[in-house]
Subunit: 336 residues, 2 copies
């Protein structure tokens, strides 16, 4: 493997000059620069990045901690991160935790060992104290998930107000008996969507009936099962707000299997606006999270930290949007 000193020798200059040609071309006279570049071409010299990384102790790599790659919400965010990272010459290392906290700690070591320049968490289940300690020393951004009472740069949507928007939409359509199938309640996201649901009901002088609130786990199956339970009630709901789109499909399937039509007999609103919600029959009315943009923004904030700009350690709340399709009954069935 040809190295810098080989190039230097052949070009009759010092290693330092070759290095400068590559990293600070403007400090080298044009004639020497051209000469060196020619030799580099000719010898097909590739700098040893490992040596460079070691010497400069920077990796141009960031770590993305993902609870579950198979969840399209996360892959969309990942796409946004990847895009912004690529634009800035950064590479993305993947860290799949499979929802295990221990894995989060494991990947934290990468950061501490400076194997990556920064870290974006799409899930923060680890101890808040530890995280607070880490983010004092290293660039960290949190997105998709968020925490209370710790000043970590975060990019999210407002889940409380989103939950409210979704529920209010159903109220406006004339429903008063509205159920909610939540995400796992140990997640703040889930609790906030539930909070929004409650707020909407209360603000519209509707009772909050606890029997109408069921906890799911974001899976189709849990949506199906919880909806089946709800349909067995003496006074079943006429509308359901599901905390994500996949559960919404479960809800719809359960309703159909029970002989009901959606949206005629049951109105459904989901959450996320993943492709599934557009494809499903009926199309699912949902709250759109700007997933790609969240990834972009998170990476942007991380880069600021990496480049030593600590001024921006704030929380970013991006705009969400109600996307109306067929499942809520506000729109005619229609393809596209």
């Amino acid at each position: 493997m040809v190295k810098m000193s080989d190039v230097a020798e052949k070009a009759n200059v010092s290693k330092a000059t070759v290095s400068r040609v590559l990293r600070n071309p403007e400090t080298v006279k044009k004639t020497t620069r051209d000469k060196v570049m020619a030799i580099i071409e000719q010898m097909n010299y590739q700098p040893n990045i490992l040596a460079r990384q070691f010497r400069r102790s920077e990796t141009n790599t960031i770590l993305v901690v993902i609870p579950n790659i198979l969840n399209t919400v996360f892959s969309h965010i990942l796409g946004g991160i990847e895009h912004e990272a690529g634009k800035n010459g950064y590479r993305v290392l993947l860290a799949n935790t499979n929802k295990q906290v221990e894995k989060e700690y494991e990947f934290l070591d990468h950061l501490k060992q400076r194997q990556v320049d920064g870290m974006i968490l799409l899930s923060a289940r680890m101890d808040k104290g530890i995280l607070a300690e880490v983010m004092k020393q290293y660039p960290v951004v949190l997105t998709a998930d968020y925490l209370e009472g710790i000043p970590i740069p975060t990019v999210t949507i407002d889940n409380v107000s989103s939950g409210r928007t979704a529920t209010e939409h159903l109220i406006k359509l004339g429903h008063s008996r509205i159920a909610h199938i939540s995400g796992p309640l140990h997640l703040l996201v889930s609790r906030d969507r539930l909070k929004g649901y409650r707020q909407a009901l209360l603000q519209n002088n509707l009772d909050v009936d606890n029997i109408l609130i069921q906890e799911g786990d974001f899976s189709h199956e849990s949506g199906y099962n919880q909806m089946t339970k709800l349909l067995a009630l003496e006074h079943p709901p006429t509308a359901v707000f599901a905390a994500n789109d996949e559960m919404a499909t479960g809800v719809i399937k359960a309703a159909k299997d029970h002989g009901l039509s959606v949206p005629e007999d049951l109105a459904v609103v989901g959450f996320d606006n993943v492709k599934l919600s557009a494809i499903y029959d009926p199309g699912i009315t949902t709250i759109a999270q700007p997933m790609f943009k969240m990834g972009n923004k998170a990476m942007e904030l991380l880069l600021q930290q990496i480049n030593g700009d600590d001024s921006n350690k704030t929380q970013y709340v991006l705009q969400n949007e109600l996307v109306i399709r067929e499942s809520c009954g506000a729109k005619q069935k229609n393809h596209g």
Copy 2:
């Protein structure tokens, strides 16, 4: 940042001994080993991985080249890779090409510059000659996609026979006018599934009617549009084999919008067995690709190459499986 020499000094041993304690503990006497380990703990010493990587010129990182993160087939394979990599102390660097060939070349440089120990391609659009050259020198495995006439280690299913299985299933159910909506025909995968479709028809003495073969792009929309075309024919098909599950959903939606029921008026078979096919209403009969296993196997083969075992540069063909759900009419509608 505390370094190895600090530990050595405090423990009254040489750097070499500390290094050995970490990398070859069995070569160090137990008493010294314990002493050194104690100091390491006490000083909270973290070895500088960058220095190690540089010195040993290995990264314990592999690169996965993905045409599109948002496609769940690829994320499942990625999951399998990640799992196997993690088990073996390897990290996974993500390379999203967004289907651009230039990106593939760009990421090739990572490999050449030894920034990664090996590479798994989920898409090989680059020039075969270049790829052949690269794989002589570096560990490379191809999965999901494959190429003809180049002896690169590959992990796939047999797409021809899968296409045949899917089509034969429809023939057995009594259909004789069977359409095929293919993937993009510049992909070998798509051409092979089409080939299987043709073979099945011919082997069963059925005519291949070219008007029933339409090219899609794996998206729901293309499935919808092509199906709409087919339904406008004088003799529309009674069954459709779509080259992936997402297009199958488009087919089903088009049929419904045309007033037809699936499977009663139109039988549909998809391909991939992604979650969508299980969730959709009706559930989609499909060919299961063992995606996670493909990732696992690909990583396994790559590790063999990295560890210098070149004996196994072969093609792996994994088992596919027909998963029967409601969309083909062979099974009663039924949840789960």
